[in-house]
Subunit: 256 residues, 5 copies
């Protein structure tokens, strides 16, 4: 669970809501037709830009940004060192029962290939293909979120233009001028707010997450392949720790 994302969204909406409530009251800022213009317009343009499949995948991708717990590289090195020790002592088949204890699907899949006695090259190309598909899926998600971050303010401005034209046509009642203009500005407000608090930073987080995940998966590939070659636990640790900054090293114990 990525706590920073949740804190950020709660805080961000909190600050804005606080300013709204102390300023003019929440009711002034709630206007369903304005919301429909901004959100409806943004979602429509996403449907035109992307395929139905990409559009539907965005929800699961965003959900993952919140729910997926980020893996600990140190833990991964420790696990892999243990697997290397078991492999050397009891052979690859003894790793079969370890697979069930692993809650990282990618690692489990790699171990299964190892237990099945596949060749190093096959395991590597299979796992790297999987990494590539993960990055492509995340890249799609990032692209959709960035497009929404550009589209929402545009539809906000379109909504404001609609509101202004409607207001200017009815100038006969000067009392309603202020209220009409206030409503017209709401779409721009919605579009800017949702883009800057949700779409743009979430796209950024997805990029960070994808970069981290790719390093993690690359580490897993190096570890599994090292075990397949029959390397000792110490060698496995050395090969994987290249990816870890020096501060976080040295916590992994090699016990054969």
């Amino acid at each position: 669970m990525d706590i920073a994302t949740i804190i950020g969204i709660v805080l961000g909406f909190g600050f804005i809501l606080g300013a709204i409530i102390t300023g003019a009251g929440l009711i002034t800022f709630l206007h369903i037709p304005s919301m429909i213009i901004v959100f409806g317009g943004t979602f429509s343009s996403v449907l035109i830009h992307f395929s139905m499949g990409q559009f539907l995948s965005i929800f699961s991708v965003v959900k993952n940004t919140f729910l997926t717990k980020s893996h600990s590289p140190t833990l991964l090195v420790q696990q892999m060192v243990n697997f290397a020790a078991i492999n050397r002592r009891d052979g690859a088949l003894a790793l079969e029962q370890e697979i069930r204890k692993v809650d990282n699907k990618f690692l489990a899949k790699g171990l299964q290939s190892l237990v099945d006695g596949q060749e190093e090259d096959d395991i590597r190309s299979l796992m790297e293909l999987e990494t590539m598909y993960m990055q492509q899926r995340h890249g799609d998600g990032k692209q959709i979120l960035e497009f929404m971050g550009a589209s929402a303010p545009a539809f906000g401005m379109i909504g404001t233009l609609i509101g202004l034209v409607a207001m200017l046509k009815n100038l006969s009642s000067p009392d309603s001028l202020g209220a009409g203009m206030a409503v017209a500005l709401l779409t721009t407000f919605y579009g800017s707010l949702i883009a800057n608090i949700v779409f743009i930073p979430l796209a950024g987080k997805l990029g960070q997450y994808s970069k981290k995940e790719a390093v993690f998966m690359e580490m897993t590939v190096e570890g599994i392949c090292s075990i397949v070659r029959g390397d000792s636990p110490t060698v496995v640790r050395e090969k994987m720790q290249v990816f870890v900054s020096s501060k976080k090293r040295g916590e992994v114990k090699v016990s054969i």
Copy 2:
């Protein structure tokens, strides 16, 4: 037929029309001279930027975005596996009658070359050239749509400036101020709307479509060349499935 594009355009215009009708009535937002400035200006600048041929091709390219049904990679693999089986069993000439059953022109052309007994290298270079021309044609279309997406709001602003200058010159009648300003804003509204609901997302769709089509054509090339080399159906399937994500594999049956 790409259903998402059509749903998106219908929904997008629906939301905006709904907001307009409930807000100030459709009549207020219909102003033919304003439309002429925005659409005339945008089309003129496209004519200056691109050649007459590119300008005319844009309509067929956009039409394709709506009408072309996207091909199923799984079906392609299944077809190719069947062709490989026929090729092995009855020889390349037996494939001639299969060509008529194929409704994918690129695949049919590849099969014809195969039946004609051309060399693998010639087939590959011919088909890759075709792929390159497809990408270039789509790239041209995307560039034109993106240019229109930038040009339409610019001519919208130019129209608004014309309207504002005309209105400011006739300030003697303050009653007409609101109406004049409302009309002036309409060009900016038209330019932003058409750019954000049609030009910009359609350019994006064309890019997605081109990327998918290129992968599909590359798969076809690999399959045809594999059959030319006399590979078994199983090998053909393996070579083509590299392009398919693991979730969608395994549905192809190899029956010799």
Copy 3:
């Protein structure tokens, strides 16, 4: 003569002029001092950005965009096939009288080198250098036009600021407020119009033109070098038609 550019410019100014004349009369939109700010400012900044030579070359480059007739690739292949036939039948010297009939300077130069008996490598490097200089010249022209497309709206805004400040200083006569503001907006109008109807799309056209010209020159180089090597007309045609899309092929007759 590129008919699309001329149609586009005539249509573009036509639409805008129509809107102006039906809206507020042409006189309202003619203001010499505003034109001087926008055009004077833009040309001054071009002089600062580029050298005197580049500044002066822009006029001939733009003129070429209008006047140069685009070459027909099919005609070029046909010409080259004929030259190859003559070369094979009567020797290179017999090509000397063909040079005079050719109205494409680059091709004539290549033929002259061929008749002069230069080596293939020398001809190729000389002609490729010429192609590079053409692209550099066009690239310079495109960069200048793009800079003008960014500069003109900026000086439009500067002019509007000058007009607004002048108007605000003389608020004593509220009657002149509208007229003053109308004049102030004219510079922004001029800057946006000239950028979006002339500078930005012309820069695009120059890019398209340069790309086409480069392919054409590359085809000429391949053809001349193929003749130098003594290839048969059929081989010359094959080598040049790689650059032509399959739809346009097959129109070239090889008659020895």
Copy 4:
């Protein structure tokens, strides 16, 4: 200590404060709720975009931009030449007591590896990994500051929209119109000011600093590796001075 950064920030805020105090008094420009919208919104969006770790690291990275004294390349060459002389005269172990005198941690680490008798390749890969982590850390910091530079004006505009809507709803009291609008504009003012005086230029400085530091670390690597190979002080100087512009050379004495 980077004096230019401090002078710049002091001067920048000084000019703005001077303009504010002579213009309308400082009190007019202090509005805590507006500050909360801009700074709260910006920090929230940083939390959503980046991970908690990256968010916390930004403070130490910015602190370093102010406090870290930039190293003198000439001094480094002189030190390295001396170490080479000691290494040649008394052996690598004699360098151990020099380590304590060095206040550059990266150099000290390199010397320690040298004294420990590690291989040249190991020292080089270790030190280059360290350089890469430094650049990645700085790159993260730069990215965060650039994102804040884009986010702060956006939240400034969102705050202004909130203020405008609130003001327009209460048009009954026209006296408060000016005051309400003044407050509404303050968020845009805060967002633009902080972005242009702090976030954007600090991101630039971090980039400059990172580039300089990388060259310095590369020089250190070359020097240490040259000493490991047993090069003479003169050769060490030659190899390191490639990184120094010719004007600053020649100040290093080689005394064996």
Copy 5:
């Protein structure tokens, strides 16, 4: 002396001054506090972004853009051809007295290395390093000018916000509204003017100048190295004229 830069700046300010004087009088547009906000703010942000050394170098770099006379490639080829003739006839030492007659420092330095009998590889790497430092210095200057071109309008807008807030707080005297707003707009005017007439086009000129200078220095390197190898004047001319467009060739006489 680059005459285009000077003509451009004189003309640019001339057009703007003309518009100002005929429009509202120069006095209206002179406001020292507004200038302090824009120029003070811009210079402060440059100090924060760049180091003190880079900040100070900008003045000499800009001065060079005005004062340095651009070298004639034809003259350089002629000089080099003469040097090659002297070298062949009287030996390298005879070139020593030619060095004093050369007013191009880079060429003089190259000749000195030649006279000193250095190896071709050493001369080449030394001169290419010098070229690289020149480009880096110009690149720094260009980056600073571009940053100022982005910073000045931003501080212009900040100044306008300060002016607007101050004006809105004092709405009691409606007479001063116009004057206050006029002053508020001046900072945006200053920022846009200085960016579009000085900073942005000067950055462009520096880029053009740097590109030209790099080609010129590369020609010098090729010429000197050709002489070192003992090439004949004709060969030296051939090697250097590759860099000169064909129109400007043929003016160089080879007289041995």
